[in-house]
């Protein structure tokens, strides 16, 4: 019972946290970019846009930060056996993340919020870039910790603890660089989709020919290109990761396709209705695609779940080494599907904006609707992507070294249940308030984002 509750609690607090992480990593970068355009060109439109999206960024950042604090201590609270086992290795990137990344983002965000008008414009611009750098570094170090759990390197096990033998191997972990690229590009795509959806929606609300409408249309065009490029790169980095997965976590690869028996030239199913294990009722399959994904070859061999299970039993002893197949199978497809839709949406926006004709973008009602609903796509992809990554490697908490069941704390069921329920309640309230404030701030549009808003802020009374 403790195990089940601890796993649910971890998944809830992590998934919730990760709504905000990619959005804020991406928005920090985009706001920095907008402020740079405003600074370099002396462009009032980009200046207003950078303040407008900066305001949205700060609302999300506040929730991202507080939910991140919970995660730092989640390991000690519910996963103390795991913490003891991995602390030598897992703790270091966490501590380094705090020292290098958290200090940077939190200090410079204070400087950015309160420093407007007090620092020189050049220095003020530098502070938002430091925030962006801090959030990105944070992703690097937490992924170094996660990648070690996915594919342990540079360690040996001494007296029931994994101890560090080579820190450089930890940082050179191929899984790390695959997932770092994938995650950060995903974050850029997330923020891009948000900027695209909101800009397309707000442009429509501004009178035709007005300066604000023009600013939002420019932002839409910019976001369409940006999101498109970022999402294509996400797909490419994901493809690289698939090959790594085939080498280091073959079970996850097989589970992604629910491939039970080893095959050469394996096909890939896009959609399955019915049982994944036996003969499905209906299926759309693309021949040879799984082999291409896993091995980059037409007839490459992809190992099946049953074969891998047998090999794992021989290696680690009796037990099931198979993750929950439907969850793994479907989360993978939803992630990829949402990504493809986002690429199509961005391409549509870029096509509409061709030839410097911004009004064509502004007049398309269907695009505006699609872009607004499209905001959900990256969030769906981010969430299902992590569900796939983390469920697909079960039963391992540290791949091949420690099972999730062995990592849990010795606290009582009542204690975990209490914290779990409380986190759900608090996160529901905060999530609802955050969403409401976000929409409210977005509705304000570009009014009040110019110099006229600076009176109180200049004096340091921002809050």
């Amino acid at each position: 019972m403790q195990l089940l509750l601890a796993r649910w609690e971890f998944s809830v607090v992590t998934v919730f946290h990760f709504f905000f992480v990619p959005l804020t990593i991406g928005l920090a970068f985009l706001v920095a970019l907008m402020q740079t355009l405003a600074y370099k060109r002396g462009d009032a439109g980009w200046d207003r846009l950078s303040r407008f999206f900066g305001r949205l960024f700060l609302i999300e950042m506040a929730v991202g930060i507080v939910t991140g604090i919970v995660l730092e201590f989640q390991f000690g609270l519910n996963w103390s056996a795991y913490s003891v086992f991995v602390g030598n290795i897992f703790g270091a990137p966490l501590a380094i993340e705090a020292l290098l990344a958290f200090f940077m983002e939190s200090t410079f965000i204070g400087l950015w919020i309160f420093g407007r008008g007090r620092l020189s414009p050049r220095l003020h611009l530098a502070t938002i870039w430091m925030v962006s750098l801090g959030t990105t570094l944070s992703a690097l170090f937490i992924l170094a910790a996660n990648s070690w759990m996915q594919h342990p390197v540079g360690y040996k096990v001494v007296h029931g603890q994994a101890v560090l033998t080579n820190f450089w191997l930890l940082l050179g972990n191929p899984m790390l660089w695959g997932s770092f690229a994938h995650t950060v590009l995903g974050a850029l795509a997330t923020a891009g989709a948000v900027v695209l959806g909101i800009s397309a929606w707000r442009a429509h609300r501004e009178p035709r020919g007005s300066e604000h409408r023009n600013s939002f249309l420019r932002a839409s065009r910019f976001a369409a290109f940006f999101t498109g490029v970022a999402t294509v790169l996400v797909a490419i980095s994901g493809d690289v990761q698939a090959r790594l997965m085939d080498v280091y976590q073959p079970m996850k690869m097989a589970a992604a396709e629910a491939l039970y028996t080893t095959k050469s030239g394996a096909s890939f199913s896009i959609l399955t209705i019915g049982n994944l294990k036996q003969k499905p009722i209906f299926q759309i399959r693309i021949p040879h695609l799984l082999s291409l994904i896993a091995d980059l070859s037409w007839n490459g061999q992809v190992q099946g779940i049953n074969n891998i299970q047998a090999a794992e039993v021989a290696k680690h002893g009796a037990g099931s080494y198979i993750p929950v197949i439907p969850l793994t199978y479907w989360s993978f497809r939803v992630m990829v599907g949402a990504g493809i839709l986002l690429i199509l949406l961005s391409a549509w926006g870029a096509w509409l904006a061709r030839g410097n004709n911004l009004e064509r973008l502004g007049e398309s009602r269907w695009f505006r609707r699609a872009a607004l609903w499209g905001i959900a796509l990256p969030f769906i992809a981010n969430t299902t992507g992590w569900i796939f990554t983390e469920i697909g490697r079960q039963p391992w908490i540290v791949y091949g070294l420690m099972t999730t069941a062995k990592g849990v704390s010795t606290v009582t069921t009542a204690d975990i249940a209490l914290t779990f329920i409380a986190f759900i309640l608090v996160y529901t309230i905060i999530g609802a308030v955050d969403a409401w404030l976000f929409v409210r701030a977005a509705r304000l549009g570009l009014d009040g984002t110019g110099e006229e808003a600076e009176g109180a802020e200049l004096a340091g009374l921002v809050y």
């Binding site: 609302i59 506040a62 930060i65 507080v66 604090i69 730092e72 201590f73 390991f75 000690g76 609270l77 103390s80 913490s83 003891v84 086992f85 991995v86 602390g87 030598n88 290795i89 897992f90 703790g91 966490l94 501590a95 380094i96 705090a98 020292l99 290098l100 958290f102 200090f103 939190s106 200090t107 410079f108 965000i109 204070g110 400087l111 919020i113 309160f114 420093g115 007090r118 620092l119 001494v158 603890q161 101890v163 033998t165 820190f167 704390s409 010795t410 914290t419 409380a422 608090v426 905060i430 308030v433 404030l437 409210r440 009176g455 200049l458 004096a459 340091g460 009374l461 921002v462 809050y463």
Partner: protein
């Protein structure tokens, strides 16, 4: 091997320093949040209080994350046992920090008195709870908690509510309110600063009594001796320095000397944490029932390689962190003053000696 064995002790001391730095910094911003409802007469006062810590509170809180991360990396067993054992206490703190963290940003986003009042409460409660619980937890830690033979704490939240811990919790609350009030009188001007000074004197008297009581109680209670611990006089002397700091700060602020008062509360907080860590040494989780059940530095420490990597990284990057964090304090060093007119627009003044503060509002 011999010279590197000391890395364990070095990291024990560094973690002590991180906690001390955390409580020094977040201590005043907790204090400002707790004292704000008592010294604010109107919305502008409240905003001034929040904005006095606005640019820095988030950076201050990262000291906690760094202390937590460093404990995880350098002493995995300590991190695991401590937070597994002090489960609900840490959970309370986390909830409080969530409420507090979002309150700053959320409060300012809707211009409605009821809305602002709600988040004022979140800010107040979210600061009050950790201000008490951190003090209670560290008092428990230094006083020792009952541990099973395999080193686990088992008495739950109730077991942490030992009378000495309650005194310790109230002591830390009074101390942080003093620290925050002094900070506020240093950062604001006019009537608000005067009320903050008054609050500092009241909380300073309370803190002097409570901190002394907690120190005497912990020293008198004693616990099973751990091999290799420092003579009991050393932590006691450090603790007396802390008490002197609290008393001096109260005297300084009563005379209107904000700067010295802030220095004195700062020394008091750093010295108290020094006393806690000196008295725990060489244990990291001392047992109140049987010394052998306690967890020691050597028993909890990571291997040499981890500590070496951490030492190198910390040596390279800490100076940068301190430099830019220090710079942010420098950038926002001015006192905040009330707006002349009209309400809603606020001007930044030079120190109040140079700027005539309008008598608007109340005094």
């Amino acid at each position: 091997m011999a010279p590197f064995a000391d890395l364990n002790t070095t990291w024990f001391a560094l973690i002590g320093l991180l906690w001390a730095g955390y409580l020094f910094l977040e201590g005043f911003d907790f204090g400002v949040s707790v004292v704000s409802p008592f010294v604010s007469k109107d919305e502008i006062d409240r905003r001034t209080c929040l904005n006095a810590i606005g640019p820095v509170w988030d950076g201050n809180e990262v000291w906690l994350l760094t202390a937590g991360g460093a404990t995880f990396a350098a002493f995995p067993l300590w991190y695991a046992r401590l937070f597994n054992g002090f489960y609900l206490a840490l959970f309370l703190i986390l909830l409080a920090l969530i409420a507090r963290g979002v309150s700053f940003e959320f409060r300012a986003k809707v211009d409605d008195p009821k809305w602002r009042r709600t988040w004022d409460w979140a800010n107040f409660g979210g600061s009050l709870v950790p201000a008490i619980v951190w003090g209670a937890a560290f008092t428990d830690l230094v006083h020792g908690v009952p541990l099973s033979p395999d080193g686990r704490y088992y008495a739950g939240l109730i077991g942490l509510l030992h009378p000495v811990a309650l005194v310790g919790g109230l002591a830390s609350l009074a101390l942080f309110v003093l620290h925050g009030s002094v900070f506020l009188s240093l950062k604001t001007s006019g009537a608000l600063a005067a009320r903050a000074r008054h609050a500092a004197v009241v909380s300073g008297v309370a803190a002097s009594v409570l901190v002394t009581a907690a120190v005497v109680w912990v020293a008198a209670a004693g616990r099973p001796a751990v091999d290799g611990s420092v003579p009991g006089a050393l932590p006691l002397v450090i603790a007396i320095v802390a008490i002197a700091g609290v008393v001096l700060s109260t005297l300084f602020i009563a005379r209107g000397n904000d700067g010295r008062a802030f220095l004195a509360t700062g020394v008091a907080i750093l010295a108290l944490m020094g006393a806690v860590f000196a008295r725990m040494f060489p244990a990291v989780l001392p047992a109140s029932n049987r010394a052998a059940n306690g967890l020691t530095i050597a028993g909890a420490a990571s291997q040499h390689n981890t500590l070496l990597v951490m030492t190198v990284v910390a040596a390279i990057f800490t100076p940068f962190v301190l430099a830019y964090q220090g710079w942010s304090y420098w950038v926002f060093r001015q006192r905040l003053t009330r707006p002349v007119a009209p309400a809603g627009t606020v001007t930044t003044g030079l120190p109040p000696v140079a700027t005539a503060t309008p008598a608007a509002g109340s005094a």
